[in-house]
């Protein structure tokens, strides 16, 4: 009950933001929502199903580039382009999930790491220049006013992201509450028992990979129209690892946690940038240092992330 209230307040708060925030801050808000969607997808895979992906930036890239190409080259509207590109991500994730079955655990981490490192080069591949714009990237027109209302571009993008995020959260929550959620967790915790109870682990794992990639793809597509630009360098290993940081900080297997994670990976680099004033150029190192220390610290003291900390705090308060 309390958590439903918290969610409700969060939604009202988030929805009202365009009335009292503007310009750049609203843009940052949209970024947080976009990251939250991507983290949600990764958390479905890693947190709930126990499959480690170090390469979700690649699916984010497919979503972003896919949507951009459809919009720029085929003239499709974004509300057609993004779902189409995300569907492609689902298929790509599903297909990547197949070999992943055979080499779970550590090998999956290796394969997805390779995917993350190779992605920028693949996006800049010369023979696909006519589609991707090569290393230059692609400019994407920003969407017009939402539903024909008298809104600024930033407001439109923000509310669009919020609406999509709410829908995708609701879908994920529903999925996890039922049989599917129990199966995913059972596969993570007791793979053999799950199999013997008739859970088709292979199917669940590949579909989970597909759904997870779909979420990353939606986020990538929204990111492309929010930023108005895609380029290979923005989809490298750093992005994939930032997603991992996000779910670790927010909390593995936590829906609410991804919001903390998204805030974290959006604002930590931002604040670090401001510190360059004091520390010079080398302050660029700060987000990495914070990420690294936080990841190790989280694993040591709070494997369930910030959301987990809140939960245990709440339980303690209730008992007291």
């Amino acid at each position: 009950m309390a958590s439903r209230l918290a969610w409700g307040l969060a939604v009202v708060f988030a929805a009202s933001a365009p009335f009292w925030m503007s310009g750049y801050h609203l843009y940052q808000g949209a970024q947080v929502l976009i990251y939250a969607i991507a983290l949600l997808g990764l958390n479905l895979l890693t947190g709930y199903n126990g499959q480690l992906s170090l390469g979700h930036g690649a699916f984010f890239a497919i979503g972003g580039y896919g949507a951009s190409i459809l919009i720029v080259k085929l003239g499709l509207p974004y509300y057609v382009a993004i779902p189409l590109a995300s569907a492609v991500c689902f298929v790509a994730g599903f297909l990547f999930g197949f070999p992943a079955l055979r080499f779970g655990g550590l090998y999956l981490a290796l394969a997805t790491f390779a995917l993350a490192v190779a992605t920028p080069q693949l996006l800049a591949f010369k023979r696909l220049d006519f589609l991707t714009g090569g290393s230059e990237g692609l400019h994407v027109p920003k969407p017009g006013p939402l539903l024909g209302l008298p809104l600024s571009v930033d407001q439109s993008v923000y509310w669009l992201c919020l609406a999509v995020a709410i829908a995708l959260f609701a879908i994920a929550a529903n999925l996890l509450r039922g049989r599917v959620g129990r199966a995913l967790v059972a596969i993570r915790d007791h793979p053999i028992a799950a199999e013997s109870m008739g859970v088709d682990a292979a199917l669940y794992k590949t579909i989970c990979f597909g759904i997870s990639a779909f979420y990353a793809g939606v986020a990538g597509g929204l990111d492309a129209i929010a930023v108005g630009f895609v380029s290979p360098e923005s989809f490298g290993l750093a992005l994939s690892l930032a997603f991992l940081v996000g779910i670790v900080i927010g909390g593995l297997a936590s829906l609410g946690g991804v919001i903390f994670g998204a805030l974290f990976i959006e604002f930590v680099p931002n604040y670090a940038d401001q510190l360059t004033v004091y520390f010079g150029e080398n302050a660029k190192a700060l987000p990495g240092a914070v990420y690294g220390v936080m990841m190790i610290a989280m694993m040591a003291v709070a494997p369930m992330g910030i959301a987990g900390l809140f939960r245990s705090l709440a339980q303690r308060l209730r008992k007291a």
Binding site: A114, L115, A285
Partner: protein, 290 residues
């Protein structure tokens, strides 16, 4: 033809770097069933230490030796202080800790040494020791250094009691402890060795790929590919895999896919091997009777 031989030999030079990096990865894998994702960043940081020493007027080989020694100590300390507490944690937690370590070393390098790309000295000047027509002096030197490292590591594990104890600890820790092997220290020693080997790999690679905080990303990926190709539980398979990846990557880059997408060669090798033959080309089948 000359061009082909040239590509082949420079493939071997980087291949040597991949091979010893893969060997370091496999050493840790054999002992813990884990792959150290921070291996590359640790090596990069070691290389910066050597660079700083050289900048301060040290001669090459003393700087080299000091860096290797310091990296060894660093590896031991990291194992004891940061890796050890997660020994019984799930794989997921360990991988996250390794990635965290990688972030930290990357940040440290950026903070102390900056993000500007630096050139890195080579001790090998003048005429190449062999293959003069096809490779640079540094490439021939790097190949020789890699081979020396491999020979030393082989001799250490094969002929010294400590090397034997490390193999025993990796293979059957419970039994090793019963004969008095301090298994915990063997793991720390393994990390020290891996870090020292990584430092050498970094110092051999830096004159070729140049020094910056992200220089080891690609190298680590190729080393992964080499280790997976050769069999991640087989040190000599991984070494062979590393050399193979070096040559294949260079040839495909030069003649087939173009240098701009060379990294995807590693991706294809990793996914391909894992799909077709997950144990790698030389993954061992242990013969055991009861």
């Amino acid at each position: 033809m000359v061009e082909l031989l040239h590509q082949l030999s420079s493939g071997l030079a980087l291949g040597g770097v991949y091979a010893i990096t893969a060997l370091a990865l496999v050493m840790i894998f054999q002992a813990t069933q884990l792959v150290n994702f921070a291996q590359g960043e640790m090596a990069m940081f070691s290389t910066y230490v050597a660079w700083a020493l050289l900048q301060n007027g040290w001669n090459y080989w003393p700087a080299f030796a000091f860096t290797v020694a310091l990296s060894f100590v660093g590896g031991v300390v990291i194992e004891r202080a940061i890796v050890r507490p997660f020994a019984h944690a799930p794989i997921l937690a360990s991988v996250i800790v390794f990635i965290g370590l990688g972030f930290i070393f990357n940040a440290l390098a950026g903070f102390f040494f900056g993000y500007t790309v630096q050139s890195f000295d080579t001790p090998f000047n003048g005429r190449p020791w062999f293959g003069a027509k096809f490779m640079s002096a540094h490439e021939s030197g790097a190949i020789v250094v890699s081979l020396i490292v491999l020979a030393l590591v082989f001799a250490f594990f094969r002929f010294t009691p400590l090397g034997l104890a490390m193999r025993a600890a990796a293979q059957n820790p419970a039994s090793a402890r019963l004969v008095g092997v301090r298994v915990g220290w063997m793991l720390a020693l393994g990390w020290g060795l891996a870090a020292a080997i990584g430092a050498i790999a970094g110092m051999m690679a830096a004159p070729i790929v140049y020094l910056d905080p992200n220089m080891m990303g690609g190298i680590l990926l190729y080393a992964f590919a080499g280790a997976v190709l050769g069999g991640i539980d087989n040190p000599w398979g991984a070494v062979l895999g590393g050399f193979t990846v070096g040559v294949v990557e260079n040839l495909l880059g030069a003649y087939v896919v173009g240098t701009e997408v060379k990294l995807s060669v590693a991706l294809i090798i990793i996914v391909g091997v894992l799909v077709a033959k997950p144990s790698g080309l030389f993954g061992r089948r242990i013969v055991a009777r009861v």
